[in-house]
Amino acid sequence: MKEVKKLKKIGLYIHIPFCYKKCSYCDFISFKYNDQNIDQYVKALLKEIELYSSRLKKYKVKTLFIGGGTPSALTIDKMDTIVNKLYKSLSIESGIEFSVESNPGTLTKEKLEGYLKIGVNRLSIGLQSFNDRILNSIGRIHSKEIFLRNYHTARDVGFDNINIDLMYGLPGQSLSDWKDTLEKVIELRPEHISAYALKIEEGTRFYDLYLQNKLHLADEEEEREMYHYTIETLNKQGIVQYEISNFAKEDYECEHNLIYWNNEEFLGLGLAAHSYLNFCRFANTNNFEEYINLLNNGKLPVSTKENKSREDEIFETMFLGLRLTKGVNVNKFKKRFRLNPLEIYKYKLDKMIKLGLITVDENSIRLTRYGMDVSNQVFLEFIPE
């Protein structure tokens, strides 16, 4: 037992890069759902897990997160195979947070029951909007009715930790549309809500439309109003903001995502998955064939590697930690780096306090509300010279 305690704890992420249909705003690598691809992919993924079993002897998994793409596009059998392999090959703590992302258009009662059976205890559902017109225009495959039916089914079969993903600033979305979506979501009392501002990414359908001037986007003023309204409303409802875009009832913060924001270690498996282990950030190839071939030849599909200096680690700890409403913990920072952030950043902090971007107290450095709106401007200040 003593030995177990010495193990380093990490988050584990599994990427499932398949979708029935690509959403108009999405620039993730994903492939059209087809059985042959998926068989190949799952086989390779199992090999990848196998390859890590010997390499992760000194690690213990403390959160599991299966994301995508659309993980719920997989059959429950496939999901079961993957999870079985994980438990067989890696050391996974019992009772840990285990999330699966889902598209309401791909859920069924059987699948939901299956998830519970294989240990999933946190369900994330991509709703995005409660307006069918908007859902259709952003390329979602589901309606609000399908979402509602599946949400209730999930509750019925026993999910007691559900996240709902939402987006605001969508084309054709007014402030009152957004208020309406929020109101209806609040009625459902989910444990967790992620509300993301739409960002037009290159290589998406929206990007093309944007270039052709065919996207009717809310102006910045209105979009910020949506954001501020979200924070105020959800906080009032006890679904409290804990990160720039994330809200949760008490004790329902997503532990897996907190690993990223606390700049802790995690391993990502699957196509294009990212990892941070042992002061090194690395990522798998995003080329499907290459991923399959490398694993078929018994090789890790890692394509990029970046060793992190102490300076990098400090910067990343700052800018990731500042995303959280409780900010960067001064004591933890001191313990980790043997440096006092209030001293090393004194000049910068003073400047930013004056600009109303951050607040500082004895034990934390936090973004103000305005600081959250322009957080990049704050993060920039901490980039090592």
Binding site: Y13, H15, F28, G67, Y196, A197, K199, E220, E221, E223, R224, I244, S245, N257, Y260, W261, F266, G268, A273, H274, S275, Y276, R281, A283, T304, E306, F315, E316, F319, L320, R323, L355, G356, L357, Y370, M372, D373, V374, S375, N376, Q377, F379, L380, I383
Partner: protein, 604 residues
């Protein structure tokens, strides 16, 4: 008088005069090709335009010389082709190269005829007693009208054009005729080879191994390796360590004699000791007097050049010194700006000259610079009777000490097809021009003679003229006089603080529109900050225009893509790089672009 010898009889020193785009560089290439100097592979598109910048802009800036060997009727002739720049800003450089020649080929476009620019250079050449050999180019074009053009040359310029070769440099038609005409019509050089050395520096460049390289035309005497030479303007002496010719790359020879064109190197380390226009002679047997002076180039436009963020002042000084070697018209001296720190006030022949120097600093020296608003020299008569010449608006005395001010006025000649007379006149009117006269050169072509304040010409006038005349308008100007004028100093305030680098002197009637235009432009290019930034234009304490850059509302990456921290970090780093390039003025970060945008007139 010296008798020319048989060696000199076989030499021709000439240049090519042409309007921009009339095919000078192409013709030069053909002449080189025809004389078999280079293999095809070595033949770049346009050999004489060696600088990338020139090729990109399609104009020739720096002079160069090439030696062609032409055989005709069993005789071998040395033809030294000296290249000349073709823009209005470079009359001085043209005059340098002309002084090294006995004749000039005048290239006239068979479709467009004689242009204003051509005229200006032709007159310069005639002043220098050069023999003009007209050549009509682009006869391959369907719209070519060679007979009319011949008549035009005779009527407008007053030189015989009957025998002018009809050529197409592009297609290589009748190039041989040009070479024949050069040999036949251009006089060979004269000058006593035994007389004391008299060599004209018509160009120079800096070589990091050899020091300053002087491009010379030997007028009298001869020079060889080991000679002790003297620069006549300074009396400084140097030992010659190489003399040579251009074929077109430098090739060492034993000796250069009267009539030759070539180069001299003498370990001249200080670039100031090799000034274009100077006369080189022998230290122990000097000639009696230097060659008649070049037309002195006087800078007419001034601006500040400052190191951008992270750039070193010393690097800019070194680069300017090197540029000055090739460019006697470039002037600079150190100055300081509250906003920009240490930098230089630089004098240029015109706006294009200024732009070219800026770009050369960027491309050849890889320097990051900031340029302030260009200014002319104003004459300030103070209440106490003192007169000050002001190149930098910042140095303008307080209004209360100024009795009156004078600004430089230029004589401008604009040549345009008659369809655009209205547009051109409108532009000149807007720019406070006074029409002196208007002359129809023929049924289509009109020459407008205007008096224009130079400070109106330096703001984009040439570009505006081009755009209002679909590129047909040409401009030539020269300084006329200083004239009293109602001028005011326009200050620009960013976040309530005056930015001296943006200050400019303008005519009272233009202050409002310029002030407004600059405020609008700055609002466009300065990114939003985390606070609102007022931008104001003021005269004295009176604010005449105002814009506000509202505070930044949003700059956030909403999502952490599956732990892809690196992507996020890279985005931040890229953003920071962009910020680094900005100039901190008080609490405001200003992009380089802002300084440039103030330079443009931008009429609506």
């Amino acid at each position: 008088m010296f008798m020319s010898n048989s060696r000199q009889n076989k030499i021709r020193n000439f240049c090519i005069i042409a309007h921009i785009d009339h095919g000078k560089s192409t013709l030069a290439d053909r002449l080189i090709e025809k004389t078999g100097l280079l293999t095809d592979r070595e033949m770049k598109e346009q050999i004489l335009d060696s600088m990338d910048l020139e090729r990109e802009r399609g104009i020739t800036i720096k002079l160069q010389a090439t030696r062609l060997v032409y055989k005709v009727n069993g005789e071998e002739y040395i033809l030294n082709l000296i290249d000349t720049p073709g823009h209005v800003d470079f009359n001085y450089e043209v005059s340098r190269s002309l002084a090294a020649c006995e004749g000039a080929i005048l290239v006239v476009d068979a479709t467009q005829g004689v242009e204003a620019q051509t005229m200006a250079n032709v007159y310069l050449a005639i002043e220098q007693d050069l023999e003009i050999v007209p050549v009509i180019n682009k006869i391959d074009l369907p719209s070519a009208r060679p007979e009319e053009i011949k008549k035009e040359i005779e009527d407008i310029i007053g030189i015989e054009a009957d025998n002018a070769p009809l050529i197409s440099a592009k297609e290589g038609i009748n190039i041989e005729e040009v070479l024949k005409a050069v040999v036949k019509y251009i006089p060979h050089p004269q000058g006593d080879e035994e007389a004391p050395l008299k060599a004209l520096i018509f160009d120079s460049f800096y070589d990091s191994y050899k020091g300053a390289v002087a491009y010379v035309r030997i007028k009298e005497g001869s020079v060889k390796v080991g000679d002790k030479i003297m620069m006549m303007s300074s009396g400084k002496t140097f030992d010659v360590n190489e003399v040579g010719i251009f074929v077109p790359g430098p090739v060492p020879v034993d000796e250069l004699k009267a009539g030759d064109v070539g180069y001299i190197t003498a370990s001249i380390k200080d670039v100031k000791n090799c000034r274009v226009g100077d006369t080189i002679t022998h230290a122990n047997r000097p000639c009696d007097k230097p060659l008649p002076g070049y037309k002195k180039a006087t800078p007419m436009v001034y601006c500040g050049i400052y190191p951008a963020e992270g750039e070193k002042f010393e690097n800019i000084r070194d680069a300017l010194e090197k540029l000055q070697l090739n460019d006697a018209a470039l002037e600079f001296e150190p100055e300081t700006s509250v906003a920009l720190g240490f930098g230089f006030r630089c004098g240029f022949l015109g706006l294009l000259h200024m732009e070219i120097i800026q770009q050369r600093l960027d491309r050849e020296f890889d320097l990051d610079i900031i340029t302030t608003s260009p200014s002319v020299i104003y004459k300030v008569v103070k209440t106490n009777g003192e007169i000050e010449m002001i190149q930098n608006p910042t140095n303008l005395p307080p209004q209360s000490e100024i009795e009156y001010m004078e600004e430089p006025i230029v004589d401008a000649r604009i040549m345009i097809p008659n369809d655009y007379v209205g547009n051109a006149m409108e532009l000149c009117q807007e720019r406070r021009g006074t029409l002196i006269n208007m002359e129809y050169l023929d049924e289509r072509r009109v020459s407008l003679h205007y008096e224009l304040p130079l400070n109106e010409v330096i703001y984009d006038f040439f570009d505006a003229l081009k755009s209002k005349t679909r590129g047909y308008g040409s401009l030539d100007y020269e300084f006329k006089e200083y004239r009293q004028s109602k001028l005011v100093k326009l200050d620009i305030l960013l976040n309530k603080e005056v930015v001296d680098a943006f200050s400019l002197i303008v005519h009272e009637s233009k202050a409002y529109s310029r002030g407004r235009a600059i405020c609008e432009k700055l609002k466009e290019v300065i990114p939003r900050h985390m606070f609102a930034i007022p931008i104001q234009a003021s005269i004295g304490n009176k604010v005449i225009a105002r814009e506000t850059i509202s505070a930044l509302r949003k700059d956030v990456l909403a999502k952490c893509y599956g732990g892809d921290i690196s992507r996020k970090r890279k985005l931040l780093e890229k953003q920071k790089e962009g910020k680094k390039k900005m100039r901190q003025l008080g609490s405001v970060e200003v992009p380089q672009e802002a300084f440039l945008s103030v330079l443009k007139y931008d009429e609506k």
